[in-house]
Structures are given as C-alpha cells and as structure tokens.
Amino acid sequence: MQFVLAPISSLGRFFINLLGGLVNFFIHVSRFFRLFWSIIIRIPLIVKNLSISIEQMYTIGIDSLPLVSVIAIFIGATTVTQGVYQFSGFIPLKFLGLAVCKTLINEIGPVFTSMVIAGRIATAIAAEIGSMKTGEQIDAMICLNLDPVRYLYVPKMVACMIMVPMLVIWSELIAFISSIFTVIFSVNITLYVYLNGLKYLFNARDLFLGIAKTSVFGAIIALTGCYFGLQTKGGAEGVGESTTKAVISAFVLILIFDFIIAFLVW
C-alpha cells in the first residue's frame, strides 16, 4: 500500500507547492503593477521637485557614461570581427556595414546597453531603497507627510526613462566609431565600402524604434530597483538579496519586453 500512496503523496505535495508558488508569483505581479501605477499617476507632480529628478538624471546618466562607453567600444569592435568571420567565403564584405548597422541599431545596441545600465542602476536603486527601508528612512518620510512615491520613485523612473535612451544613443555612436576603427585596422575593405554598407538599407524608423524601446527598458530598470528595494527585509543580507533579485528581474523583463516590442512593431 505504501508504494502506491507514496507517489500520490509526492505528487500532491508538488501541486500544492506549485499552487503556492503561482499564488505568490501573482501577488508579486499585482504589487509590481500597483507600484507602477502609483508612480505613473504621480509623474505630473515632478515639476514641483524637478531638482530631484535632475539629480537622478545626473547619477543615472552622466555617471554611467564611462561604463557605457567602454562597453560600446567593444560592442562595435566585436560585431565587426564576428561579421567578418561569419561572412568569410559566403557573403561579400561590402555587406559588412549593413550587418553591423542592423545589429547595432535594432538589438545589440539597445538591449546590451540597457542590460549594462540595469546591472549598474537597478542594483543601485534597490540597494538605496532597501537601505532606506531597513534604516526606517521611508517610514520617516511618511511621518513627515512626504510621499515616498513622489520623492523617491518617480524621479528615478523619469530619470531612467529619459537617460537610458540618451545613453543608448551615445553607446551606438561610440560603437559605430569603434567599428569604423576596427574596419580600418583589421578588415580588408576600404572605409568607403564599409560606410556605403552602413547606409545600405538604413531605415530611420529602425533607429527611432530601437532607441524608443529603451525608454521602456529604463522604466523596467527603475521599477525593478524600486520594487525589490521595497521588499527588503532584515539588514545588509536582505539588501544584497534585493539587489540580486532586482538585476535578474530587470534582465529577464528587458528580454521579454524586447521580444514583445519586436513582435508588435517589426
């Protein structure tokens, strides 16, 4: 009898755990969207505290420039090197510029740069808000009748939505320059041919949409940082856990939304 009941019992436990996990997941999703909505409805109030948002823009944008620049240099160089390797023997190198352009503008530039920014900013936001929560600073704000959503989360969200596209533009520019230098020094085609390839089949809509979608990625970065920061429990260990969850969730959501946007737009 035991050998019949044991698997049924295990299966029962599995489904109970699965159900518990699903309920938990949907609770998180609902809280996540509630936070998103509470931020969105307060965005118009930003004009009253513009200085806080500008400060955040500086932290998120200007301070991220060195990291984004270094990454962009290698994105440009690697794209060219990979293109040459994949084309060799099959496709003429005059199409190298076309491949690099489409790759950088549509996917690698926006997604890779956003993920790099997520690694830096989502963790920073989660750590900042997590520390504020455990240090009762958020409670202190509430006690002083200062709305944490308005003073903390909205500026970060707005700053991310504006600065991530800016950084992507900068990143793509640096990547193109880097790709040009790579072509000059290591590829057996003229600069003229490469630049012609870049222009070939260039579509301004692709460039615009590629940059515009990073505004959504910026919102995801800010939201995951804020959400997991607010979920922080305990001390330093809790903060560490929140930052990890924030960055992983940001990566996953960026890729999911990248697919959704690609599916809907292209």
Binding site: S131, E136, A140, C143, L144, L146
Partner: protein
Amino acid sequence: MLKIEHLKKRFGNQLVLDDINLEVNKGEVVCIIGQSGGGKSVILKHIIGLMIPDGGRILLDGEEISSPTKKPSDFEKVRKRLGMLFQGAALFDSKNVGENIAFPLREHTDYSEEKINEIVEEALEMVGLQPAFKYKMPSELSGGMKSRVGLARAIVMKPEIMLYDEPTSALDPIMTDKINDLILSLRDKLKMTSVVVTHDMASAYKISDRIAMIYEGRIIFYGTPAEIRASRNPYIQQFIRGQRKLQYAVGVGIEEEEESALLKNIDIEKIKQKVILDRKLKRDKSFDLASRDTLTGLMGYQQFITVLRDEIERSISEQEPMALAVFSIDQLNELGNKYGQQFCETVIREVGRKIGLSIRGTDSAGRFSSDEFGLILVKTDPSLLETTVNRIRKRIMEIVIKTPDGNNIHPVLSAGAAMLDELTASADILAKAAGHALSLAKQKGGDCVVIASKPKAG
C-alpha cells in the same frame, strides 16, 4: 489627549498586541517599557499611522485617528500634529543635516530660503548643536548627534505630540543623559506631550511622568516611577532590576511555569511562601551529604556560612531585617564528665533535631561548632529578636533526655544573637557578633539570651 482602546495587532500567527489600553494626558511624558520584540514600537507606529490595527482604536482629543477601517492616506491630517524620532534617527543619507531638517519645511510651507535657514539653525540650537552642523552629512555624525538632528527634524514642524522610538539605545550613558534632558526641555519649552519607548530604566525613571509596562501584548502596569518601583509584580521587578530570573520581593528565583500564575497576581503571598519553601528544599537537597553534620542532620559549618552569606546579600538587597542566633548547650562539659562522650553526642543529636523542628520554614539552622548551633532568622523584627530567640531556646529546652543512670534531664541553652546592620554586613562579622553575645550570655552564668548591641558613638 491621546487614548488607545483595545488595540490589537497580529503579524502572521504572532499576536503582538493583544489588548492595549493607554491614556496620555496633555504635556505628559509617558514611557512604554518592555522586553525587545514586545510590541512597544508597534504601538508608536499605530499612533502615527505607519500601521493599521487589526482591532481597537486610537483617539486624539476624542477624534478617532486609527482603527481597522482607516486607510494610510487618512493619517495625513493627523501627522501634522505628531512627530517621531526613530531609533537610529533615520536621517536621509543623501542629504546633509540642514537639508534633512529643511526637507519638511520646503515641501509643506511657503517660507523663503532665508526663513527656512533661520528655522533650521534655531532647531539645531534647540537640540544643542552648532549652526555649522547643517553642512555635515549624516555619515559624519555620531549616534548621539544623529538622534539630535533627528529630533530637530521632527520638531521643526512644531508637533503637539512627540513619539520617541528608543531614543537612547546604543548611546553611551553621558549621551543618554543629554538626550533625556533634551526630551524634558522640549516638554518644558514647547509644552509637548511625549510618548517614549525605551527599555532603559534609568531614562524611564528620569523623564517619565508615568510608565506603562507591556508584557505579552498587554499593559500590565501603568503608573508613576515611584509606583513601579514599589510594585510587587515579580515580572516588573525582574525587568526594572535587570535580573535574569523572576524574583519575589524576598529575592527568590522562580521557575518559568510559575510566571503566568504570578503575573495574574493570584495570591502572591501564598505562592511566595511555597516558593521560599521550595527553594529551601532544593537547597537542602543540593547539599552534599559530606557537607552535612552526620550527628544532627543539620548543615555543617561551611555550608551554614555559605547560606548565611546568601541570606545577608538577599536581605540587604531586599532591605529586610535579618538576625543570626547562636545557641550553646551549657551543661555539655558537665554531662560529658559524668556520662561520657557518647551521652554528649546523644544530647547534641537531640538538641540538633529539636532545633531543626522548631524553626520556621524560611529560617535555616546549622551546627556551628561541637556544642554550638547557628540559626538564621529572616525577616525578624529587631524589637522581637530577644523574645523570638528565647521562645526557640525554651522550646528546645523542653525536650527530655534519658541519662545512662535512668534520670531525665532537660538541656539548658544559652543564646547570643545579632541583627544584620551596616556594621555586621558580612557573614564573618555577623557570626563574630553573635558569638560575642553568646560569650556574654555564658559569662552571665548561662541559661539566658544576650543580644549584641551596636557600639555607642564616641
């Protein structure tokens, strides 16, 4: 002014606040004390609307400000009347001291920057900090300074009620005293009502008009500092004295299972008596047979002195009278000469047994030397000492011992006794004083009691 009625709060399966009832009058400083994790801070968070109760309500000037039906947004109006100082001050790390204090002013008032600056400096001065501090970052401040800045930030909007969440925890005694003075000066200068959560009894005694003690989610005591000191509730005594185990007024540790009965104040005297006897029984059981006097079954000298030391310490801490009496069998030498050593041992054994049977449950007896017995008399009134010792002596002398030649004799005893006082506050000195009194009794011819008297001044 502030009234808490039947407040309840549960976190998951844990009932943190069971039935909290508290009333704070205007201008009063009320301290809420209790063990860590007992729900003290939770009460403050309910008052200021950081938490919504599961049951009960909070009234401010008769108006309901918190109840299970209220939403966090309903507290905006009330919070203008309240200020809170958090444990660790909760200063905003990204802002300097001045910006921290000015933050609520900038957002809630139309004051010019000059006016705000003036108010910030005034608030810093009020908490005893120089205006130059406004440029410092929170990371550059010590714990005490942070508390002061937190206080300055909280008072800058001039709240009527200040809530302090363990304002002196993790501060050194000097800084603790400064913060306490600050709380009192704010009460005096700004006429603020204060509710202070603390587990620092020295602070509670100093600043509070009334103290509320929370235990297992209920207020088990609410009264003045003098009243809490005089409380006979053993848990309160344990907490305010910082003792590991519960203590009765007589200083006896009790077991945990007895706590609940005690806390409900069920016939404290009865339980106290039981515990005293239990203690004595346990102590007696713990004596090694080797440390007992084999002849009489009483404690041996070393063990008796150990118990004497404990009783002296306890009596001093409880400020209770205590005495030591030493008895000696007067005719022992004579009987020894006449009937031999074996008969002397019979006399000693019988006297020892009778002493053991004659004393109160709370007293202790031991064999002091070959023909002397010691008796520790706890809670003994000095005016009744001579009568008490004499009564015991006479009771012992009632026993009849048959001599080898067939006669019946009664043992005759002399006694010396000494009260525990500032001059005899050690086991050795008290024993010497009682021994000296016994010598005087023997010099008087025996069969009497002499009480050691204090040496006259000069």
